[in-house]
């Protein structure tokens, strides 16, 4: 049941303003350079990934260090089904569900042997799983060339939707839309969908079961939750989001290789979830946006700043980036261990009304 909240006019105005800002955003960004639109698109992909991982880590409390494997599965499914590599060119709305389903299958494959593990033990197994998938991608070029090994797959088809190609610029309503701008709107639609799915799952029978397992697995079993099934569902759901994000990544980049699916990426996504606030989707989104943009901002400010101060580059931007990233995580864990925007104490207003009568 949806909580009944009386919305003030201000609420709707606020929503409308945010929507307008998000619609106008790519135009503003293009003014600063198309690169910023691309950066934003990658940030949205990371938001999608974080929301997927949040189901496993935030809701069900299962620490997963190999999440990038599902991203890789989705990306390779898209790449293999829409590139000259196999000569297949399926439309993206067919590939995306296939990628999601295959990633979900891999999620179950990872989940099944790890059902009895928790915490650090689970983390190690999932870490190994992520590496296995990456190594497979790297080596499945012999004896039959499936993944094309470390060279990766190139010339991947951009998304085509209703005769509109996302690879080139177009003019609609007298405005020029570049390829990345079109992807931005597509990703935003996808993101809205994923947020809606997440919110609905959270306030559902399954979502409560996930939380119950996170809180006390033994008690959850005692009240009749089939923890095996519910955990596998969490792995599968989380993985399927990763698969969708991977498919979009392939289409946007038009080239992928195993290098994009390394452990550091898993750690990055996990950091986004933890930094933002596990379990709260708005916190997770904030964490993903922050960790996607701050490094890019640094890239554009660190060198000019040093040039101005010392007339030469003393520290490489990449070094500063990791330094600040590490420092931020340490400070976070020290001062806000629950995340920037942690799961608030949920007040179910309807429950209160009913209970007081």
């Amino acid at each position: 049941m949806t909580p009944h909240r009386p919305h003030t006019p201000g609420y709707f105005v606020g929503i409308a303003l945010v929507a307008l800002a998000l619609i106008a955003l790519p135009f503003t960004l293009s003014a600063a350079g198309t690169a910023w639109v691309r950066i934003t698109n990658l940030a949205i992909l990371f938001v999608l990934l974080s929301l997927g991982l949040n189901i496993v880590v935030g809701y069900a409390g299962l620490l997963d260090l190999g999440y990038v494997a599902f991203y890789g599965v989705g990306a390779y499914v898209y790449a293999l089904l829409a590139s000259p590599h196999f000569g297949l060119h399926l439309p993206f709305w067919i590939i995306l569900p296939i990628g999601a389903a295959l990633a979900a299958f891999f999620g179950v494959l990872l989940g099944a042997p790890t059902l009895k593990l928790r915490g650090d033990y689970l983390a190690i197994v999932t870490l190994g799983f992520g590496e296995i998938v990456r190594i497979f991608l790297n080596n499945l070029s012999q004896p039959v060339n499936i993944t094309n090994g470390p060279q990766g797959i190139a010339l991947i088809d951009p998304v085509r939707l209703g005769g509109i190609g996302f690879g080139q610029s177009d003019r609609f309503f007298g405005l020029s839309f570049s390829g990345p701008m079109k992807y931005y709107y597509l990703l935003m639609l996808l993101l809205l969908l994923v947020i809606a799915v997440n919110l609905r799952l959270q306030n559902s029978r399954i979502g409560r079961a996930w939380e119950a397992i996170r809180e006390d697995e033994m008690a959850a079993r005692a009240v009749g939750i089939n923890t095996t099934r519910i955990k596998l569902l969490a792995f599968a759901m989380g993985a399927s989001f990763g698969g969708v994000a991977g498919g979009m990544f392939s289409a946007i980049q038009e080239f992928i290789s195993p290098e994009s699916f390394v452990l550091t990426e898993s750690v990055m996504i996990l950091s986004m979830v933890v930094l933002g606030g596990m379990g709260n989707i708005w916190g997770v989104i904030a964490g993903a946006v922050l960790l996607s943009f701050v490094p890019e901002l640094l890239r554009y400010t660190v060198v000019p700043l040093q040039m101005a101060l010392f007339k030469r580059t003393v520290i490489e931007p990449e070094v500063i980036r990791m330094l600040l990233f590490g420092l931020a995580l340490v400070l976070m864990m020290r001062f806000r261990p629950a995340g920037l925007w942690p799961l608030r104490v949920r007040q179910r207003e309807f429950g209160k009304q009913a209970a007081v009568k």
């Binding site: 029978r205 009749g224 759901m237």
Partner: protein, 253 residues
């Protein structure tokens, strides 16, 4: 005589060389409060854990509500209609009281992922019913005013009540309470006793493990006594109290 609800036949549980339970047989009848007492380490909680599927029995069998009860997993036991509480309270600490009880409805409801995402009329109706029943149960155990508080913020006595409400949410035929008044003061104990008597009046069968002999003797219809993993007595409280073996087990010879 009332029909038998649960029958345990020659249940054994061994941990390595330790005989935690040896050939324990008991019969619980519909609508009664059945007490299970015994000195520390007698095997009471082990029997509970075997019955609710947390441990698997080394040998023996259970018959529940007229059918053999195959205890292969805890959630199947809950499904069959046996709910339990824990000696050391095990709530979902970071969920509200209401949510805790709503989780208890899990086993009697059906909505899956697709239902949750599409949220059609059937799912919404089920959610509403889950919530309504949860609120009713909070009223029933007397903590409805704490519905939106996190379980971990409830006072101790209310946590016990919440755990009972959560167990009741699974629509049990048999409610197994593991030391429900442990750690409670006299007032809280008396209040919980009223609640348990109310449950019996409403037709629920209750299996009660308790250290508080006065409570057990006053509340239970029949009592079984375990000592070193074996049942040494099973009868109405007055007779059990006069049983020399029981007196010996409790007071030492």
């Amino acid at each position: 005589m009332k029909p038998v609800l649960l029958e345990a036949r020659s249940v054994c549980k061994h941990f390595g060389g330790v005989r935690a339970l040896h050939e324990v047989s008991l019969t619980i009848r519909q609508g009664e409060i059945y007490g299970l007492i015994g000195p520390n380490g007698a095997g009471k909680t082990t029997l509970f854990n075997v019955l609710t599927g947390l441990y698997s029995a080394s040998s023996g069998a259970f018959q529940f509500a007229g059918a053999p009860l195959a205890i292969s997993a805890p959630h199947l036991v809950a499904q069959a209609g046996i709910a339990r509480t824990f000696q050391n309270i095990r709530l979902f600490a970071n969920m509200t009281a209401l949510e805790n009880v709503m989780v208890g409805r899990h086993v009697r409801t059906h909505a899956g992922i697709i239902g949750a995402v599409l949220r059609g009329a059937a799912t919404r109706a089920e959610e509403a019913a889950i919530q309504q029943r949860a609120v009713e149960l909070l009223h029933y155990v007397g903590i409805a005013d704490r519905a939106n508080d996190l379980a971990r913020n409830l006072p101790y006595g209310d946590q016990r009540r919440l755990e009972i409400a959560r167990a009741l949410a699974t629509d049990p035929k048999l409610l197994a309470l593991d030391e429900p008044v442990a750690g409670m003061n006299a007032t809280e104990t008396a209040a919980l006793r009223v609640l348990i008597e109310g449950l019996r009046a409403d037709g629920l069968t209750i299996l009660l493990i308790e250290h508080d002999v006065k409570l057990v003797m006053g509340l239970c219809d029949r009592v079984a006594v375990l000592d070193y993993g074996e049942k040494i007595a099973e009868d109405v409280p007055e007779k059990v109290q006069r049983n020399p073996q029981v007196i010996e087990a409790y007071l030492g010879a």
